[in-house]
């Protein structure tokens, strides 16, 4: 069996390793278009602030990891597919044959349609190369303008602020991290960032970027203001890398359409990670989640199905995120925005930036948002994904949402009386 995986991010690497476990004799090839060994975008911000060296971003730490696993890593770019011949057409001119193909090509940043967006000195923070460029320019005191305060923007924000740069953030939505945080939490994160010395413009667009002096750029905002910048980092959103699949009959929407086996409309082609429009656990619908845990789940599931274990059915991934904005830790899970007809519990201490919001459907937790919670936070995922019937504990959570761990334990484990005492 000849497996080819396009894309050396987490989904691709996990799929390759899972395939190796399942099929010790199969041929497995991992094609990546970046020059470095497979690395993690999640780790880039930490590289940016020098917490880790470049090797620290690598998905696998042993240099011979892939060789040992007999996974062939090819540095090349797949320009297109010949489905009939089962060939991947490579930028180097050659082609690669597959029996089963996994597309895990991830996503790329979108450039917003703004005059001046293609001026030199404007970077995404998406690749190691981007990170290197930013790291050399984001010096203490440098004026840095960050476009976009979504999840990616906020991860970079942390790093940029720590580098000592004079930071301004511009976000189109009315709050920060609008796709992961509700109104209250998104505004609290903004307040926190401002308290920490970052200038945050929400409900604001960049209308034009012009060359400036002495600073490299003069940036016009929709509010009429103009902001100076030495460096501009663009993080206004990403798009699945599906362009190379145009015209070959693979069904796509926002990403590649897959069934619950991570299989495309071509039974020999699978998709995983940011490029796949996979099943969402909470909604049952198919969407691009573009988060690390989902990528690895996809990778594992796709691999099992590629290996012929068609019982491996995707029940859907819980959409979730955790973010550290200048020391304020936030997370959101599942239907954090709530479900029609559901109930919610909320606890807010604005002065201390503490917030919890739980969303229920009946007595089942379906979504959650938290600010300032670092302990046992994963149990929110557990409660959502196991659809645990909370019974009377739902009422307790309505009164005190911080009791999530107690609710989980009481609902799933026998928490007994002191038997030693009672004998």
């Amino acid at each position: 069996m000849n497996h080819v995986i396009i894309g050396a991010g987490p989904a691709g690497v996990v799929a390759a390793e899972t395939l190796r476990k399942l099929q010790p004799a199969a041929s497995i090839t991992l094609v990546g278009d970046e020059p470095e060994p497979p690395y993690s975008r999640m780790a880039l911000p930490y590289f940016l602030i020098n917490h880790i060296k470049e090797e620290g971003t690598h998905l696998r730490k042993q240099a011979d990891h892939f060789a040992k696993q007999k996974i062939k890593v090819v540095h090349d770019r797949v320009l297109g597919l010949d489905r009939a011949a089962k060939l991947g057409l490579l930028a180097s001119g050659s082609s690669i044959h597959y029996d089963k193909l996994l597309i895990a090509t991830g996503s790329t940043p979108m450039a917003p349609p703004i005059p001046g967006i293609d001026l030199p000195g404007i970077f995404n923070c998406w690749t190691l190369a981007d990170a290197r460029n930013i790291a050399t320019r984001a010096k203490p005191g440098a004026k840095v303008l960050l476009m976009g305060a979504g999840f990616i923007g906020c991860i970079i924000l942390e790093a940029l602020a720590q580098s000592g740069a004079d930071l301004t953030v511009v976000e189109m939505a009315d709050r920060m991290v609008p796709r992961m945080m509700n109104d209250i939490a998104g505004h609290l994160i903004k307040d926190w960032c401002e308290k920490e010395g970052v200038k945050v413009h929400t409900s604001t667009r960049v209308t034009a970027i012009r060359k400036g002096t002495p600073h490299a750029f003069a940036v016009d905002l929709s509010t009429g203001e103009t902001v100076d910048a030495d460096l501009i980092v663009s993080a206004t959103g990403v798009r699945s890398n599906i362009k190379f699949l145009e015209g070959i009959g693979l069904e796509t929407d926002q990403g590649i359409l897959v069934n619950r086996h991570m299989q495309t409309n071509d039974p020999d082609i699978f998709a995983a990670g940011d490029v796949a429009q996979g099943r969402d656990f909470s909604t049952g619908e198919y969407s691009v989640q573009a988060i690390q845990p989902t990528a690895t789940e996809h990778g594992q599931l796709a691999a099992r199905n590629m290996a012929g274990l068609l019982g491996a059915v995707h029940r859907g991934s819980v959409n979730m995120n955790v973010l550290d904005t200048l020391g304020l830790i936030s997370s959101s899970f599942g239907l954090w925005m709530g479900k029609a007809g559901g109930t919610s519990a909320e606890l807010l201490n604005r002065e201390r930036f503490k917030y919890m919001n739980l969303q229920f459907d009946g007595d089942i937790l379906v979504g959650a948002t938290s600010l300032g919670l670092t302990q046992h936070v994963g149990v929110l995922r557990g409660l959502i994904q196991t659809k645990t019937r909370l019974g009377k504990w739902k009422d307790k959570l309505l009164e005190d949402p911080t009791q999530i761990m107690e609710a989980y334990l009481a609902s799933t484990q026998a928490v007994g009386f002191n038997a030693a005492l009672m004998k």
Binding site: P10, V14, S40, R41, M42, A43, Y46, H51, I52, G56, T57, H58, L59, R60, K61, Q292, P293, T296, E297, Q300, L301, A312, R315, M320, N321, V322, D324, G327, I329, S331, F333, T374, Q375, H376, V377, G378, V379, L380, R381, G382, Q385, T386, K387, I404, M405, E406, Y408, L409, A410, T412, Q413, A414, V415, G416, F417, N418, A419, A420
Partner: protein, 155 residues
Amino acid sequence: MHKALQLEPEKCTGCLQCEMACSYENEAVFNPSKSRIKVFTFHDEGRFAPYTCSQCSEAWCLHACPVEAIVINQLTGAKEVIEEVCVGCKVCTIACPFGTVNYNSDSGKVIKCDLCGGDPACATACPTGAITYVDADHTGLARMKAHASQSLPKA
């Protein structure tokens, strides 16, 4: 065969000796807030429940880690955080559906139970036998395993 921590809430009195032993073993200070094992108190019911990582075979934390900072100790079966490799991204803390990987803001890394390399300090310290380190096929573990895998989908 691997051994596992067996937790029996019905024997727990809530003294937190386990939390101190854990923090002392791992941080060299007595500091329950840094313990990898936690005792939860059910005040209205007068119950106590020690709880920590069950070293589940799904290893959600390990798979979610973007930088391979969580690895399996082949000797004990424990999923261990390699602190030098952990970047502190916290993805594992939301990925672990049992809530047993926690972020330590002092170190900027995550912490979880590593079975102390095969001699768990919490079990040694527990005065009532609520925490024991037993062969993994011990009958008492069936309950823990059952809940650990309860309807969680295999990824």
